[in-house]
């Protein structure tokens, strides 16, 4: 076997090995990275009758935030804080994610003190979602909402983070 033939054969071997790796690697990569290419959930889902939310109160509700897998169990649900501000009009509701804007822990509404408290690092928010104290960098995340025929609908959204606003 000549030297140039050896060189050719080693190149062929490396190329074939690389082809095998790509043949298996590309499908598995695509399979694993699929969540990146899926459109984020953006549908309007029913939360409840407007009359369920007395003016001036803030209530915990839960919705389905994405089409859930059959084995998702309780995690198919996402909790939201719904604040009824006005009897009607564009300022009627504020819908907040429960996630603290610091690191995502669930904030807790204190109905008497009218503040949200976070159990992880002590973030505090006012009733309108603005920061009242602690480490959170921005107000609570809000959801889009509409009222149709006396029913409150809320827009689905992915897990929020400070960057995507």
């Amino acid at each position: 076997v000549t030297e140039s033939r050896r060189r050719f054969l080693s190149r062929v071997t490396v190329a074939l090995t690389g082809a095998m790796a790509a043949l298996i690697g590309l499908p598995i990569l695509g399979y694993l990275l699929a969540p990146l290419f899926r459109a984020p959930p953006n549908d309007l889902v029913r939360v409840g009758a407007v009359t369920d939310f007395p003016v001036g109160e803030t209530k915990l509700v839960s919705i389905q935030d994405q089409s859930p897998l059959p084995w998702a169990g309780q995690t198919a649900q996402t909790a939201l804080w719904v604040r009824r501000r006005d009897a009607e009009g564009p300022q009627m509701f504020q819908v907040f994610n429960v996630n603290c804007t610091h690191l995502g822990c669930p904030v807790n509404w204190q109905a008497d003190a009218k503040i949200f408290l976070c159990p992880c690092h002590g973030g505090v928010f006012y009733a309108d979602g603005t920061v009242a104290g602690g480490p959170p960098p921005r107000p609570l995340y809000e959801r889009g909402w509409v009222v149709q025929g006396g029913t409150l609908l809320v827009r689905q959204a992915p897990l929020p983070n400070p960057k995507q606003g």
């Binding site: 839960s62 649900q77 690191l103 669930p106 897990l159 983070n161």
Partner: protein, 477 residues
């Protein structure tokens, strides 16, 4: 008697024959046997040899984790609607399930501790220097893998702590520059924590990281044997790459075989640690599960396992403005520093008494992390949401204004962050003697306007309530 002896001898001959046949057919003489009896420095015969056992002990506990992990995987169901119940079954009903889960849990803690102890010993003995830099690098990757196993493992409990830990992990990943959003999406495997999240963490915990660990252990042990166990450092005998390997070879010519001259110490310590793990598991059992993971239950108090509490505390005590740097930058800096250690200091003095900076580089992070862990256990920054009450000594004898004020102190969540006579949260200042610092008007203004991390309550308290609350606090001299 003689018949028994004859049978015994025949059996021994037969076993010996099978063993030597297998050894010969499997070529063990050149592989396993050669590795076991490879020469190590003679100094390891002396008591200093006890410092050289932690790598083996870590490996022993890793084997324990593999064995118990396989056992747990036979029963555990990695789906959000069943994971919690299957763990309850393992912990309560499965025969010896609580013990197996307990061993896996205490084994995980032992892995984290032993990897760090092993690294500390290697670092202080200067054993990472030439020609063993790659031993250190593969070891650093094994530390990363161990921490990743610890984190993904505690998520599999799928209780409230686990669920919110996934959310917090995704939020932290999201802070990374440029790729943050993608990382967060990959951590939860979708838009939100859901059905796809747990199966991915499970596969990562039982296949992906262990595969990497097996490979890295292979490289690590290969290098330990090929480059030799480092001799105990002597002050004034620096590493000189030009002559080190020749001197080391000469030293090994007077060495002792690893098996059994040094190996017995590894076996003794490894056995002691495994016994401690099994006893802890048998006596204490598996760690209790929290409430099942449920995103709609917001009354949660998420905490990581003890080895991550220090990091949890760090995120609470640093100034918010530094978070972008600390969340991504600090872990990155720590690991980049680890990887650079043998590249920056490949030669020179090995003995710790000649490397004061090395001692500081070990002591300061350990002290800092211990302090942060204590802070994480106490979590004084967390508002207390349950059990609001004031001692009778505080509420006794209050007048008509102060008495409703004391009630407001509880209902308006003042108590969640402020202590009076030892009762209440510790996020804000202790108010036991607030009236000795502030007048009644100043107290009222502070409550109304907030400031310094305190919310303003002017919007939620009536003038009457504010006055009552001030009247109550004015009694605290």
């Amino acid at each position: 008697m003689s018949i028994v002896r004859e049978v015994w001898r025949a059996t021994a001959r037969w076993v010996g024959g099978v063993a030597s046949w297998l050894g010969e057919r499997l070529e063990l003489e050149d592989s396993v046997v050669a590795v076991l009896v490879h020469p190590v420095p003679r100094e390891l015969e002396r008591p200093i040899g006890w410092f050289y056992v932690f790598g083996s002990a870590t490996l022993a506990v890793f084997v324990v984790q593999v064995v118990t992990g396989v056992g747990l995987a036979m029963t555990y169901v990695p789906a959000p609607n069943s994971a919690y119940d299957s763990l309850q079954f393992i912990s309560r009903d499965a025969t010896l399930g609580a013990v197996v889960r307990g061993i896996h849990y205490f084994g995980a803690g032992a892995m984290v501790v032993l990897v760090l102890v092993h690294m500390t010993q290697v670092f202080l003995f200067g054993a990472f220097k030439f020609p063993r830099e790659a031993n250190w690098l593969s070891g650093s990757l094994l530390l990363l893998a161990t921490l990743a196993m610890a984190f993904t493992g505690q998520l599999l409990r799928w209780d409230q702590d686990a669920f919110w830990a996934v959310v917090v992990a995704a939020e932290q990943a999201a802070r990374a520059p440029v790729i943050g959003g993608w990382l967060a999406t990959l951590v939860v495997a979708g838009a939100n924590v859901g059905g796809a999240t747990l199966t991915r963490f499970y596969a990562t915990h039982v296949f992906l990281i262990p595969a990497a660990v097996f490979g890295l252990i292979g490289i690590h042990l290969y290098l330990v044997v090929k480059r030799g166990i480092s001799e105990p450092p002597v002050p004034g005998e620096p590493v000189d790459p030009a002559s080190y390997r020749r001197r080391y070879r000469e030293m090994l010519s007077r060495g002792i075989p690893f098996w059994p001259d040094a190996a017995w110490r590894d076996a003794a310590i490894s056995a002691a640690i495994v016994v401690v793990i099994v006893v802890l598991a048998a006596v204490i059992g598996a760690p209790p599960l929290g409430k099942p993971a449920d995103p709609t239950v917001v009354v949660a108090d998420p905490r990581p396992d003890w080895y991550f509490l220090g990091y949890f505390a760090l995120l609470a005590v640093i100034p918010p403005a530094t978070e972008a740097v600390v969340i991504i930058g600090l872990p990155l800096f720590a690991f980049v520093f680890l990887f650079l250690v043998p590249i920056i200091w490949p030669d020179g003095e090995r003995h710790w008494s000649r490397r004061p900076v090395a001692i500081a580089a070990v002591a300061l992070p350990f002290i800092a992390y211990a302090a942060l862990t204590v802070a994480g256990i106490e979590s004084p920054w967390v508002p207390r949401l349950q059990g609001a009450a004031l001692p009778a000594s505080v509420t006794a004898g209050l007048d008509a204004r102060a008495s409703p004020g004391a009630q407001l102190f509880l209902t308006e969540s003042c108590w969640a962050c402020h202590q009076i006579d030892g009762s209440g949260g510790r996020k804000g200042p202790d108010l036991s003697h607030v009236a000795s610092r502030l007048t009644r008007d100043q107290i009222g203004a502070r409550i109304a306007n907030g400031g310094g991390g305190m919310p303003a309550f002017a919007g939620s308290l009536s003038a009457q309530d504010l006055d009552d609350l001030s009247a109550f606090l004015a009694t605290r001299r």
